[in-house]
């Protein structure tokens, strides 16, 4: 090929990763600039790179926008009730320990209504990979605040800004016993994907928090113009610190733009996995 020859860019109607997606359901229902699609994409990519048979992967979700993830990935997939993705997945993982079970769900589903199952699955070291998509609010019901909403941020149930402290999720996961704990944003898509791969390779409870924009609800309520704007916040304020030295410093304040957001792979230890 001559360098002077001008490249012609073809149109397409299939994506190379489509076989790992329920492509007949695309475009998905998620909003423009929503980060959940990138998580779905990254999970599919990680499956492809995992070297494990596709049929050994199982995806379980709860309820909410993030909970729709299970409906778009072309592996055995279960879209359960609100907050119950983890025990449902535990049932699968305990009965068929050779399956690689990944739970993809939202911050509200996993840490509000599902919080008890989260701490107990971590404590037991259930053989699950958890991807917790944190978009700082309840998106599907229209932008209510939740246990990850930063202090001062607004939502439809906190019109003057929430006063409740949000969870520091990596700290919670570590304190309850997770063997792999990471936080990334969807802008850190390569690192995030590697973290998913690592969780697939590990036995035991792996917890990945991934920050993702919800422009329609959280963004609009908090003067974050669109998904790109939130991505820019990630770009400007994220600081990578693998194996974080002080978990108390991992609090996220998305509103105060002077504060940095720490991301990285924070914990990677070995401990016997639960009934696996």
């Amino acid at each position: 090929m001559s360098v002077t020859e001008q490249t012609v860019h073809p149109t397409a109607d299939v994506h190379p990763i489509d076989h790992l997606l329920r492509a007949d359901r695309l475009p998905h229902i998620l909003c423009p600039g929503c980060g959940i699609g990138i998580v779905i994409h990254s999970y599919a990519q990680a499956i492809a790179e995992s070297g494990m048979p596709e049929n050994d992967h199982v995806c379980v979700s709860g309820i909410g926008c993030s909970g729709r993830a299970a409906g778009y990935v072309n592996v055995d997939s279960y879209h359960t009730t609100h907050g119950r993705a983890l025990p449902f997945a535990l049932g699968i993982a305990v009965h068929k320990p050779d399956l690689n079970v990944t739970v993809i769900s939202g911050d509200g589903d996993l840490t509000a209504i599902g919080g008890n199952h989260l701490i107990h699955a971590a404590r037991r070291n259930a053989n699950l990979n958890v991807i917790c998509i944190n978009n700082f609010n309840y998106g599907m019901t229209g932008g209510q605040v939740g246990p990850t909403t930063p202090i001062g941020a607004r939502g439809s149930t906190a019109p003057r800004g929430t006063t409740e402290r949000p969870f520091n999720l990596p700290y919670l996961a570590k304190a309850t016993g997770a063997v792999f704990v990471a936080r990334w944003t969807i802008l850190h898509v390569r690192e995030f994907q590697q973290a998913i791969l690592r969780s697939m390779q590990k036995k035991g409870f792996c917890f990945i928090e991934v920050l993702a924009p919800c422009p329609t609800s959280f963004g609009r309520a908090n003067k974050i113009g669109d998904g790109l704007h939130e991505m820019e916040i990630y770009r400007e304020r994220c600081r990578i610190e693998h194996g974080a030295s002080n978990f108390e410093d991992l609090d996220i304040d998305l509103i105060d733009d002077k504060k940095s957001i720490t991301v990285g792979n924070f914990v990677d230890i070995e401990r016997e996995a639960f009934l696996s």
């Binding site: 090929m1 990763i17 600039g33 990138i38 790109l228």
Partner: protein, 90 residues
């Protein structure tokens, strides 16, 4: 290492226009500014990415537009590999 010998890969950009929702991620985060909005809209009313004029050879196949796309609406392939193949087939 002689950097002048390092070959920069070149990529072909594939866009699945009907999936796009105009989030701007691919356009904004392309390290070589290959992409711009289409003038046309898709069935949902969105402007999708197209290769900007004069940028036809600028794609370095870093795959970031692919990975960062929430809609599975864009990907790149190795231009030499693809076009060679096409030529072979043609």
């Amino acid at each position: 290492m002689d950097l002048s010998l390092a070959q920069v890969p070149r990529g072909l950009v594939h866009v699945i226009a009907e999936r796009c929702k105009e989030c701007n991620f691919c356009i904004n985060y392309c390290p070589t500014d290959v992409l711009e909005y289409s003038t046309e809209i898709n069935a949902k009313g969105y402007h999708y990415p197209v290769v900007a004029e004069g940028k036809e050879d600028a794609c370095i196949q870093c795959r970031f537009c692919d990975l960062i796309c929430p809609e599975l609406a864009i990907y790149t392939t190795d231009a030499s590999a693809t076009q060679s193949k096409e030529r072979d087939a043609g």
